[in-house]
């Protein structure tokens, strides 16, 4: 669970920097694909106060941070530029005026009970009410024999720990205000807490081992249910059904009745006469020590004719059972009429048949029968909200009330909607949500969807139907741990731009600055950050401890934890050594090489491929790395004889650009001309990134010594080759080839290349080739599309020589702030610093992210 708000912060030394007021720069892209996790962090009051304090103090000049010597380990590296550095002492101790981290959350000892008044406020932190009422723990004492209850209570009480008591109190309150949902149908997480095992006879058995599982179904639901609670009326809401689920717990806390009785009465029993809810506003927090009356909590319907057998130990359904012998065979009903439906022996089976045949078909046979038979028996339409009667074979449309007529005539009260599977009760005149039926429906639908997805061979469908929509966009239903977390952290937190969450130094473990820089760049890639912080990684590796993606996930958690002390990435380094042997060791390495190796390993591990055996088909890989970093580089080879063009598209993760002054370079244009395309610096004579890109995408004569065999001419001909971008990645990495290893010389080219804050890649697209041939490189004015526009968000720089040097990086934070990351030391930087830096690796992020559906179109068109 990657809920960051729960990472307990260590003794938090303050972060060593101070963010100044934000500057009015061009905003970085804020569009993101994944859900934003941020609102859970930060502390509103403290952060702002701190920021104020710090601004006035203003202690942090830029560049103050470097301390310590830099002695390089001198070794002869084979390739690229290298950087390394002896780990320095912890810089976090650098004095800072932060007295504490703006973000600190700890799991407190037993939380104070929240004050929940009947009908009162719902705590802000509460999860959105799930679509149907989640069973809360409630007393099931209705099913227990009455005598001995008091004893149970006391034994149960003594068996509890203080923490549990507190939690129970919290729950008690929740329940008092909330509805009493029988916990008997414990939901999928199905954990039942028992102070001790209490079976139906009322004896307390010793608790099993670590069996103290909390079932926090804090149903702090919305207003309506509460109101419903308080106004007894006829409503087709799920009726709490007493169930012997948790007598022990019920003793301690008990289900909150709709009545706000002091004693939190249990839900109604069939055998109980209906009683009005006790209107007392008091809630008992003390453990109950005497038998409680059992008024019916919700008087909505007359006593239901449920033939419930007397409580007896029955095998428990649901995971992790064993504590209690309870029967969950019948859950809380949607309404009394549904209840009557659920009487028969085989109602489940019958219902499943209906679902499988008429609603969610799995087999071709059922589909055929559905196609033929599912039409309105009155008017023959297949539209108009067709419903099927649950008691007989009748289909009627809803809109024209044909199904209503049938219900009236035959007194068949229930019908199922053939489109969505909901159950409509004609007596209650509304759809009813019966827990059991919903469960069955969910299963049937899930199964049908799974089958549909797995048998779908049409590539164009796959991005949409795999995985099933239910999995893709599931409704959030809180789990027990989440409820706990929300309970412990009720304050809403907001990230302000003065917050430093996300900025954290990385200790140099011995010439690992090359790795640190790439890590900083990756962890500040907005779309990647969103992916990992929403916990979207599901490990596929056979051995998860070797999974680099899991380690990335954990790195994100570390860096965004709010902990300002530098992180020691030893596990990452270890994994890198294991999976990228050529980068192992303490020698200085090339950052670009590390980037490519890391992306490769991440890509492989996303698919569970440990050793790189699986054939990689980047066109069909859907891993997050490919979605973000993979672009399509189009190579067009034009035969000079017949002018036929042969096109290939290769996936690429980055673009390596030659620089002027290198042996391999060929610069037809004088640098600096037309550099205003992307708003780069106009200093004449300065090469810009755009120049480099232009050079990269120019048509190149391959020369007579490199003739290509032309398919149409069937002979070797001279040709020209041109590279352009066919598909732009979400994150574009540019690599300047500063390290030259030609026969003539080995050196680092330190020419300054000017690069822009915003970049438009349109002129370098394959689709722009024609306009370039005509000499226009300028973007057509009023080109409405922003889809090729990028914003700079990270720069990796190298200082030193080819043999040895040091890597640092600049990263973008909160849209407009830049920070320099030098291993463990992070300092504020200005945009000028960034743009004036030499530049070795540049990271640009798309400003506008297109829909997946658009991508699907793209994929489709490429295939043709």
């Amino acid at each position: 669970m990657a809920l960051l708000c729960l990472v307990p912060s260590d003794a938090a030394p303050p972060p060593p920097f101070l963010p100044p007021p934000p500057r009015p720069l061009a905003p970085c892209c804020s569009a993101s694909v994944g859900p934003e996790v941020q609102p859970l962090w930060g502390s509103r009051g403290r952060g702002e106060e701190q920021a104020r304090r710090l601004r006035s103090a203003d202690q942090w000049a830029k560049g103050r941070a470097f301390s310590g010597s830099r002695a390089w380990l001198q070794e002869r590296p084979p390739l690229g530029g290298f950087g390394g550095r002896i780990p320095e002492a912890s810089p976090a101790s650098a004095a800072a005026s932060f007295s504490e981290s703006p973000f600190r959350v700890r799991l407190p000892p037993p939380p104070p009970p929240r004050t929940l008044r009947p009908g009162g406020d719902t705590p802000v932190c509460v999860a959105p009410a799930p679509p149907r009422p989640v069973a809360a723990r409630t007393r099931r004492s209705g099913e227990e024999p009455q005598p001995g209850e008091a004893e149970e209570v006391e034994e149960a009480e003594t068996a509890e720990t203080a923490a549990e008591k507190a939690e129970r109190k919290v729950e008690t309150e929740a329940k008092v205000e909330g509805k009493v949902e029988a916990a008997e149908k414990v939901d999928a997480t199905g954990k039942v807490e028992a102070a001790g095992k209490v079976d139906a006879t009322g004896k307390v058995e010793p608790e099993e081992g670590p069996g103290r599982r909390l079932e926090l179904k804090l149903e702090l639901e919305s207003e309506p249910a509460r109101e419903a609670e308080q106004e007894p009326k006829e409503e087709p809401k799920p009726e709490p059904e007493p169930e012997d689920e948790n007598p022990a717990r019920s003793c301690g806390s008990g289900g909150g009745g709709g009545g706000n009785s002091e004693e939190v009465p249990p839900p109604s029993l069939p055998s109980d006469p209906p009683q009005p809810p006790d209107p007392s506003p008091r809630r008992s927090r003390a453990p109950r020590r005497r038998p409680r009356p059992r008024p019916q909590t919700r008087v909505r319907t007359p006593p239901q004719p449920r033939p419930r057998p007397p409580p007896r130990p029955r095998p428990r359904r649901g995971p992790g059972g064993g504590c209690l012998e309870v029967d969950f065979a019948v859950g809380p009903p949607g309404c009394s009429h549904v209840n009557s439906f659920k009487v028969g022996e085989n109602w489940r089976q019958g219902l499943r048949v209906i679902y499988q045949c008429f609603v969610w078909c799995r087999t071709p046979e059922t589909r055929k029968s559905k196609a033929k038979s599912c039409i309105c028996h009155v008017c023959g339409t297949h539209l108009n909200r067709l419903h099927s009667c649950l008691s007989c074979v009748f289909f009627g449309c809803f809109t024209e009330k044909h199904i209503h007529e049938h219900a009236q005539a035959k007194q068949h009260n229930l019908a199922v909607d053939l489109y969505y599977g909901g159950i409509y009760c004609f007596m209650c005149k509304d759809y009813v949500y019966d827990k059991d039926i919903e469960q069955i429906a969910k299963e049937e639908q899930g199964e049908a969807l799974r089958l549909q997805a797995s048998t779908s061979t049409d590539v164009s469908y796959q991005p949409c139907s795999v995985p099933g929509l239910g999995e893709k966009y599931p409704t959030w239903e809180t789990t027990k741990p989440e409820l706990e977390l929300l309970g412990h952290n009720p304050r809403r937190r907001r990230i302000a731009s003065s917050f430093t969450i996300g900025l954290r130094g990385l200790i140099n473990l011995g010439n690992t600055c090359f790795m640190n820089c790439i890590v900083q760049a990756l962890t500040h890639t907005p779309i990647l950050r969103d992916f990992f912080l929403s916990d979207r990684h599901r490990c596929e590796m056979p051995s998860p401890e070797l999974c680099l993606v899991c380690e990335m996930s954990s790195l994100f958690r570390e860096l965004y934890s709010g902990n300002p002390s530098p992180h020691v990435p030893y596990k990452l380094l270890h994994l890198v050594w294991i999976h990228a042997r050529h980068l192992a060791g303490y020698r200085q390495q090339d950052a670009h090489e590390f980037l490519i190796a890391a992306l490769d390993v991440l890509h492989r591990h996303c698919k569970g491929d440990e050793v790189g055996k699986a054939a990689n088909n980047p066109n069909h890989c859907n891993c997050i790395i490919d979605q973000i970093f993979t672009g399509g580089l189009q190579s067009d080879v034009t035969c000079q004889a017949c002018h036929g063009v042969s096109t290939t598209i290769d996936p690429c993760w980055d673009i390596s650009l030659d620089l002027p002054g290198s042996c391999a370079s060929f610069w037809p244009m004088s640098p600096g001309r037309e550099s205003s395309v992307n708003g780069e610096s106009h200093v004449p004579g300065t090469t810009t990134l755009t120049d480099c890109l232009r050079r990269f995408t120019r048509p190149e004569h391959l020369g007579s010594s490199a003739k290509i065999k032309c398919g149409s001419c069937q002979s070797y001909q001279e040709s020209t080759k041109q590279l352009t971008m066919n598909k732009l990645p979400v994150v574009a990495c540019f690599h300047f080839k500063r390290f030259e290893h030609s026969a003539k010389q080995r050196r680092k080219i330190t020419t300054y290349i000017s690069f822009p804050l915003e970049l438009d890649m349109t002129p370098f697209m394959a689709s722009s080739k024609e306009s370039r041939l005509n000499g226009q490189l300028q973007l057509p004015t009023g080109s409405g599309t922003d889809e090729n526009k990028y914003s700079l968000f990270a720069v990796v720089n190298h200082q030193g020589t080819l043999e040895s040097g040091h890597y640092t990086s600049f990263i973008r934070h909160h849209k407009n702030q830049w920070f320099k990351c030098d291993d463990a030391v992070i300092t504020k930087a200005s945009i000028k610093d960034v743009l004036d830096s030499e530049g070795y690796l540049l990271f640009y992020h798309k400003q506008v992210l297109e829909h997946e559906s658009e991508k699907v179109k793209e994929m489709n068109t490429q295939a043709y």
Binding site: S222, E223, P224, E227, A228, W360, C361, P364, R367, K368, K370, A371, K372, C374, I375, H377, V378, C379, G380, T381, H382, R385, Y424, K429, D430, Y431, A448, L449, Q452, S456, Y461, C464, S465, G468, L469, K472, Y473, H851, E852, S853
Partner: protein
């Protein structure tokens, strides 16, 4: 058992529908449509509309599904983006072309 009150048009529609169901295409199209509508924000728009207008007006307690259907259907239909309509139509056309025996 079916009283046939349908005209040619409706018959054609019914036949197409049958074919769509038999081949399972209808389910796929449904899923596709769902995904697109979520991705383009239609679902959220409509949900907001529900919350703001309908429920506030009628009160959460008294709203029935029928109310919602009556209120939301026209708005929902109007809000579907053209691109989604086009895409779905295209898929259906392709499907029909493939099953020309219809």
């Amino acid at each position: 058992m079916v009283v046939s009150k349908m005209n040619k048009d409706a018959q054609m529609r019914a036949a197409i529908n049958q074919k769509l169901i038999e081949t399972g295409e209808r389910e796929r199209l449904k899923e596709l449509l769902r995904a697109k509508l979520i991705e383009c924000g239609w679902k959220d728009q409509l949900k907001a509309h529900c919350k703001e207008e309908v429920i506030k007006e009628k009160g959460l307690e008294h709203v029935t599904v029928d109310d919602l259907v009556a209120e939301i259907t026209p708005k929902g239909r109007a809000l579907v983006p053209d691109s989604v309509k086009k895409e779905l139509l295209q898929r259906i056309r392709t499907f029909l072309a493939q099953h020309a025996s219809l």
